[in-house]
Structures are given as C-alpha cells and as structure tokens.
C-alpha cells in the first residue's frame, strides 16, 4: 500500500510532530509513505476569507502536487473537506480542472478514516492506562461523517477507559479567522469546551483536527495548567508498545 501524505499548514508549521506520528502509524501498518515537498496548504484560509481567486490558484497547485497519487491521507478533516467539496466548487468554471478535482476527491482520506475503513485496522498496538475523551470536530463529523472510526481506534487502545465528553459535537470556537476576528465569542465557546473536558474527568482530550487542537490546547495552557489535549495520531503513536 502506498500513501501520499498531505500534511496541512497548521501541522507543518506549528505541530510537525503530528505529521511524524501520522507517518509512524502508517509505516507501522506496512504502508509505504511518500511526501511531496512541493505541498504547502490547501488554501482553506483564503477560501474562507472570501479570496476565491487566490484560493483557486492554491487549489491548482495542490492538484498539480497530488494529482497523480493513488491515495492521499491527511491528519486534518477540514483540509480534506476543502479538497473534496470546495475544490470542485472553486473550479466549476474550468471543466478540465474541475474534473481533476473531482477525481482527486475520490482518492483523499482523513487519517482515522483511512486506517479503519481502508486498512481495516483498529488496534495499533497502543496501551494507555487512563481515561480519555474525544471532541468531535465539525468538519470531521458533519463534513466527512467520521465519528465511529476515531472511537474505534480509541477503543483499540489497551487499558484505556473512554469517558463521554458533554456536548462533544459542539464547535470549539476555532473556525479559522473566527478565533482571531471574534475573540470574545470564540472564548465563550472554547471556555465551555475546556470546562466540559475538565468535568469529564478524562486525563487527556483527543481530537482529529489540528485547528481545534491549536485552539483548545492554547486555551488550556492559559487557563487550565496540567490539562492536555492531543491529536489522536500523537496519542496512538506515543503509546505504542515498544518491542
């Protein structure tokens, strides 16, 4: 199995360890990973801000970089959504490009989706004696309909007790430019998410979206010392039994 890694900008710049962990998990499963160094970003920040012409340019670059890959996997749901659903929309006036976008849409996966649905694996050999809980990111859950897969991977971790997060499907308040442009409202939302995390009694909050992670962990660092949020890939990779 060969997979082309799509490492989003947030991971590339701010949290490269998630990319490393993604690569580790896939390699452990016998997947041959390749990484196109020309990749940069899917263009979502520009698209969400309304700069569609600029976003289109970035989309075309992305399609050029990943267009020939059989399978693209990313540890970021919102970016996968951008490619799958918004690239064809962005390129609707350019039929040849749109066709390439639609083709690519069928070959791009979010990480947990790929591991569980395609590789059919739920046990990655990780152990963790403690309580974990899970935040259902908006684009992962409502954009890609992914919910069972991360939970299966969590269930596959030996020794782990899963506790429910109250309002687990509520938005954490990131929303890209929203967190910067509407800070007080964003704060109210992340405050509630953090409080629910604390209330759950879990040792760690897991999620599959780098944007949410930046938001929540940044808030936790400022307001709840000692409470940790982790990307699912990092949690799994960090806790795999060393042979």
């Amino acid at each position: 199995m060969k997979v082309s890694l799509f490492i989003p900008c947030t991971v590339d710049i701010m949290m490269p360890e998630i990319g490393v962990d993604t690569n580790t998990l896939l390699s452990n499963l016998g997947v041959q990973t390749l990484y196109h160094k020309e990749q940069t970003c899917c263009g979502q920040p520009l698209f969400n801000a309304g700069y569609r012409d600029h976003a289109k340019r970035v989309a075309k670059h992305f399609i050029e970089v990943f267009g020939e890959d059989d399978c693209v996997v990313s540890p970021a749901g919102s970016c996968v959504c951008m490619v799958k659903y918004h690239y064809p929309e962005l390129l609707e006036n350019e039929p040849i490009w749109q066709k390439r976008a639609l083709d690519l849409a069928g070959r791009i996966y979010e990480l947990s989706q790929y591991i569980v649905d395609v590789l059919k694996v739920t046990n990655l050999g990780a152990t963790f004696a403690g309580k974990v809980t899970y935040h259902e990111s908006c684009h992962i859950l409502r954009g890609l309909n992914i919910s069972a897969q991360p939970k299966k991977l969590i269930a596959g971790v030996e020794g782990t007790q899963f506790v429910e997060l109250e309002s687990s499907t509520a938005c954490c308040g990131f929303g890209g430019e929203f967190a910067v442009a509407y800070p007080e409202i964003s704060e109210a939302m992340v405050r509630e998410k953090a409080a629910n995390f604390v209330k759950s009694g879990a040792d760690v909050l897991l999620l599959c979206e780098p944007g949410c992670l930046l938001n929540i962990s940044g808030y936790l660092h400022r307001n709840h010392t000692g409470k940790t949020a982790l990307h699912l890939a990092s949690f799994l990779a960090q806790n795999i039994k060393k042979v």
């Binding site: 590339d12 490393v20 390699s27 041959q32 700069y51 569609r52 409202i185 660092h221």
Partner: protein, 490 residues
Amino acid sequence: MHPHANKFMETARKELKNEQSQMFLLMVSLGAPILRQIGMSTFADIAAAEAYSRAIRADVITRLPELLEAFEKNAVSNGAKVLWAKDAAEANHIILDIANQRGVSYVMKGKSMITEEIGLNDHLIKNGVDVFETDLGEVITQNLKLHPFHLVGPAINVPPSEISEAFLKKGIIDEASTDPVKLGGGARKYLRDKFRNLQMGIVGVNMGVAETGTIINVENEGNIRLIKSSPKTLVAIMSLEKVVPNMADAVSMIRMLTRNCTGQKITSYVSMDSGPQKCDEQDGPEELFIIILDNGRSEIYSDLKTREILKCIRCGACLNTCPVYTKIGGYPYGATYCGPIGQTLTPMLAGMENTSDLYRACTLCGMCKQICPAGIDHPSLLLSYRARQIELKNQKGKKTMQSRGENAIAGLIALGMSHGWLWSLGINLTRPLMNSMAKDGYIGNIPMGAQGWFVCRDLRAIPKKTFHETWDDLPSRPESSGNTSKKEDS
C-alpha cells in the same frame, strides 16, 4: 426593520456578560435539541422525514412562480382579495389604506415577522391607527420596545420584574407581579375587550396552499383564531416564499415545523382559511385581503445561489443549535431575523455593506445545515457572501487603500502557498519574529496582527523545523515487528 448589524460585537460583548441572557441561552442550547429529538421520534424514520420536507421546499423553490400564480387564482376564486406589494412602503400603504377606508381606530396583530421587517406598526401608529400586538412575546417586546431575542420566543429572556414594571405603567396589570401566569393573565384581560370590539385584524401566514388558495396559521395562544373570527376585515400578509403545492404537503410541513420549532407534535391550533366567510355565517371576516410581499425576495430568487434562502419555514431550529447564537442571543443581529437564518437573509435584504459581521461571525460548524428541515446550506451561503464582498471591494472604482492592501496580502499568501520554496522562506522569516515573543515555549501575545488569538489563549512557540524540514530525518524503517516499510521522497 432597520438593521443595526454594524453594532454586532458591541452588543455581543454586552450579551456575553449578561447573566440573564446567558442563563436562557444555556437553557435553549441544552433543552431545545432534546425537545426536538423527542418530537421527531414519532417518525419511524427521522432521516426520511427530513429528506421529505427538504424535498418539498426544494420543489417549492423550483416552481415558485407557478405556485404563486395558482395560489392567487384559487384564493381569488375563494373570494379573497389578493394584492401584491413590491416593498415595505407599498405594503404599509395598502394596509393603512384598508384601515382608513373602514374608519378603523385600532388593529390587532398576530405574530408576523414580516410585519416587523417592514415596520408596519410604526407606520400605522404614526398615521393614527393604534396597533395591539397579541402574541404574548410580541406584547412584551412592543411594550418594552425590545428587539427579538429569539425567532420563536422573542421575549423569553426578559426578567418578569421588567415585564411587570412595563405592564403596570400601561395598565395591563393592576399590581406588580413576577409570576408569568399572572402577567399573562393580565395581558389576556387587557386584550380581551379589544378582541371583542375588533373591526380589523392582521395576521401573518405560515403557509399558503397553491392548490386550494388556503392560508394556514399555526399557533398555541389562540390570538390568531380570535383575529380570524371576530372582526369584519382580515388582512393576511405573507412573503412570497410561503407557499406549498397542496394540502398533503402542508400537513407534512406542519409536522416538521412544530417539531423543529418547539418540539411540539402539533400546536394547539392550526387554522386554514379558504377565502372570507361565506354568506349566512355568523362570524369570520366579510373581507379577506391576502397581501403577497416581495421586499427584495424576487431579487434573491433570481440568483440561483441565494434562492435557497427562500426555503426557510421560520422554525428557529438553526438558532437553537448555533454555537454563536447560543452564546450571544438575538440582539446583536440587529434585525428581525437572528441566528443563522438572520445571517443569511439580512445581508440580502439590507445589503452586504453594513452586514459584514453577519456573514463573517460564523465558524462554519454546519449544525444549522444539519438540522434545517427545509434543507438550507447556510455555511455555503455565508462563504459565498464573503467571496462576494471581496469581489465588490476589488471592483474597478471600488478599491480603497485598505482593500488594495488586504488583497495584496492575500495575493502574497497565495503566492507562498503555490511554491514550496516560497512557503519555506516565508516561514523561516516569520518564525524568529514570533518566537522572540515566546516565554517558556509559549507566546502569550503579539504587538500587532492576529492579536485576537491571544485574548484568551496562548500559542506554542513555532518549532525550529517544519515537517518539510523534518521529513528527511525520519527513520526509513520505524521499529515494529517484522514489517517492511519504506518512506519515499518525491
């Protein structure tokens, strides 16, 4: 409606600190979805019910002109007088005219959001016709001069003590009380004589049935039935998207409307009027005027993207699940409509220029789209408005220094995102700058730029190497039992 959406954050900040508002919003955010779920559980297949109501509204939008024509024809053959109003001024003029011609000194009104949209009350009162709201929520907002806090319960957050004070002043109650039952009882008594002597009533319309020319109203209080029964003259005003093809569709939509609105399986009353009273009837209106209002909607309809806004059935479910609305309540939206439907509709009615917060203050979480029984894709619409705004800002003759600057920055970012080497360069230039402000591995604030981030959260310092730069250092064979794996460059 005179939107003051440019006071969005100013009002939102106040509301975020308002304990009463926050208490209600918490109740709404936790309680409303549960009530809706209970209501929806009467369907053996909830997904099928949602798909069906969405299909009905999609059908209506596809055939809107033909359905409106059929509705008018059938309403007229029932004996109703159908009048078309292009805008607020025309609608207000028509209604005032009807009142003046009949020498009416006051009217009573059922809850109708489009009458708020067009500012009907002010127009009538200014011209000597008194207006009494009758839906308890609107009685309160009218007397306290408040904007709606919620689409369905516009005054649900207002403390009873404030209602009591206003009601005492108006003579609606004789003695102060904070008991909702006593306050409501006062309103009932105060309005009862006015119902009994009513000459002209005004109601909105939940749906107009094309096949039969029938107007349907859905309510719990009974004020609308009284208004449809007591006076000789009845005016029903509907915006042009409020049609459904036939009675069977109306029934399907009513089931979805009530469940999504309040979680009820049905409201206390669903009244269906096909024309005015027939001769020999002892009550009911002798004249029924149905006003079909445009007020910007045919323009919304003519755009294939925005026309889906007209699918809305005003259930308010989008509000109850919106993470932004349930933190700030209705006031910041500054107009008749709040929550996600307000964010999609108001910019189209009031113009994009002063409503920028309405289409940008959204995380695109998709809860509204998921729950909408009419099938509206709010996030997609809001994204299209953002794009439209940028387009307008960068049009020939419209460019300002600021828009030029912003566009240049966006262009630069796009450039960086289109070339791997530029991307790396950009990061390598920015990293030391950002990290110079870090303390113990975290950045707590920056002197300029995206300062909003740091209002409530920190940012981990930018790692010395990007993933790009780490790739080459990754082991080609990670430790695992017997797996052969390779990593590849390209």
